[in-house]
Amino acid sequence: MSMTLLYVQTLNGLQLGVLLFLIAAGLTLVFGVMDFINLAHGVQYMIGAYLAAMFTALTGNFFYGLALALPSALAFGLLLEFLIFRHLYDRDHLDQVLATFGIILFLNQAVKVVWGAAPLSVPIPDVLSGSIRLMDGLLYPVYRLAIIGSGLAIAVLLGILVSRTRIGMLVRAGASNAPMVSALGVDIGKLFMIVFGFGAMLAGFAGAMVAPILSVEPGMGDNLLILTFVVIVIGGIGSVRGAFIAAILVGLVDTLGRVFGPQVLRALMDPSAASQAGRALAPMLTYILMAAILFFRPGGLFPAKK
């Protein structure tokens, strides 16, 4: 295994990690602050991608499309909150899981009614359409670097927002003890709404950003949702910093494990057994990581202080 391949794969892992972070940031806040399990968070990622695809097709420019998709994703998140989620905050987790699972089914079918069942594609914007040669025979699209860059930028902004601003302070306080925040005269309902809408917009942003490299299709958020839950559990529920570290960790472990795991195994056992075992082990790696971290730190890496 060459060093260049290792660098390239690390970059790939970083990209997955950043993507996971964008989705996980909203989810961990919603879960941490409101104690609300939102399985439909992955659907908001899908909606973001569809909105970006639609607006890009309408305006003929990805950046206009993105600029229109973000407020629409926010508005859609707020609409969902107003119509459905608001009525679920006081219910127990099972009710929330059932209701939000229903929303997944409903919206996955709904996008098919609106946009059709066939996957949609969004062209890479011209400014970012170049690529750099990272290793012999392989071009790395600049656009993927842009995803990493924008994800990191949002991570920094979010970090400042949560740790340095008044609203961030309220969010952190809400994650630790929501009834107390409410008792101190903060309109917790409004806080919840802001957090929820913001989380939906971040997930929508992630969806819009990947639209040019992944196909936009019904159910595209479902697979990522599971990994996202792994991320917030590893990171500690309610912690944005934890979500960031965990997302990068999961992204790297998943990518590097999948690629180099079978090669490491091949050094230990005969090739066919190694490929058998590698095939079975690679998808399990992130869950093994989660189990190991929870064994030593049951609250995750950076649990919100209760």
Partner: protein
Amino acid sequence: MFAKTKMLLPAALLALSSGALMAQEKVKVGIMVTLSGPPAVLGQQARDGFNLAVKTLGGKLGGINAEVIVVDDELKPDVAVGKVKGLLERDQVNFVVGPIFSNVLQAIHKPVVDSNAFLISPNAGTSNFAGAQCNANFYVTSYQNDQNHEVLGKYAQDKGFKKLFLMAPNYQAGRDALAGVKRHFKGEIVAEVYTPLGQLDFSAELAQIAAAKPDALFTFMPGGMGVNLVRQYRQAGLADAIPFLSAFTVDESTLPAQKEAAVGFFGGANWAPDMKNPQSEAFVKAYEAAYNSVPGTYAMQAYDAAMLIDAAIRSAGGKLGNKDAIRAGLRKADFKSLRGNFKMGHNGYPIQDFYLVQAVPRPDGKFQTSIRQKIFENYVDVYAKDCKLPK
């Protein structure tokens, strides 16, 4: 309102009485395909292809008025079994046409072949039902699943490729696909990569492919996975360096999303929309006019399924009750297939030609696959020899 009812009433009575009199004079077909979830496009093509055939035949099959009932198997074998029993017991269908996916086929095969109806698969063709478990009430108008992959293995071998990189999703069909390629390719397999089913970002695998420097890539990535892989393969600059060989990855169901990214990529198929024969040309024209999309093999095979049923009823003299005569008609398959050369093998799987196809742009801005060269002629699947039915 009243006037309408008055006019309708005698008509309804007439229909009722004639319906009671000619209870046998209607052929009922249940179509069970996947119409929900990401792979719904395939099911829609099959449904539309079948309906188009019935429309072309004047709403009749074998000269008898046809009633087509469409159900969605949701790509869930347990749901499919429940719904297929509904078709058999409640609707009393004469034929079940379906499914698209092999795991659904495994589930509905027994309930249908043990009933009074025939099962015609317009797509799924698993190895077990082609071989030892073949059944005289089961017919396939598509192919045996391995065959499309074998086309690429044979092509790679004939072309003199020395090193092949194989990649497929980690599930039964993926492993079967790679086995199919290896049946004819004798060169070196530099890597055999299995990705999680449903993976959409292939950046890690693309780096591996670039590092391995194979003569060609063979992959089987149906549906959305294929759309993503093809676009990312192009973005990574591999498209011009390493030929892209695939099956069920670049076809009319995925090309609307892959567009230019897939142009020049190779596939294996039993038909393509530019097949040169009058019936195929007429079909493509009618399908595009009716559904505003390019028909793929899914639509073609379902169209042929309707034509097969039509021919079978015709050869049985329209006697739906005579199952032996219908069965003989299905086996004889006396119809003009859209793919031209078509015979029904003794195991109920077709004997047909296979082609190397390539994705090309069309003048109208859409994309389709185009036949490049014939790879197999009158090709019998490798499992047919295990089938004990009379030849």
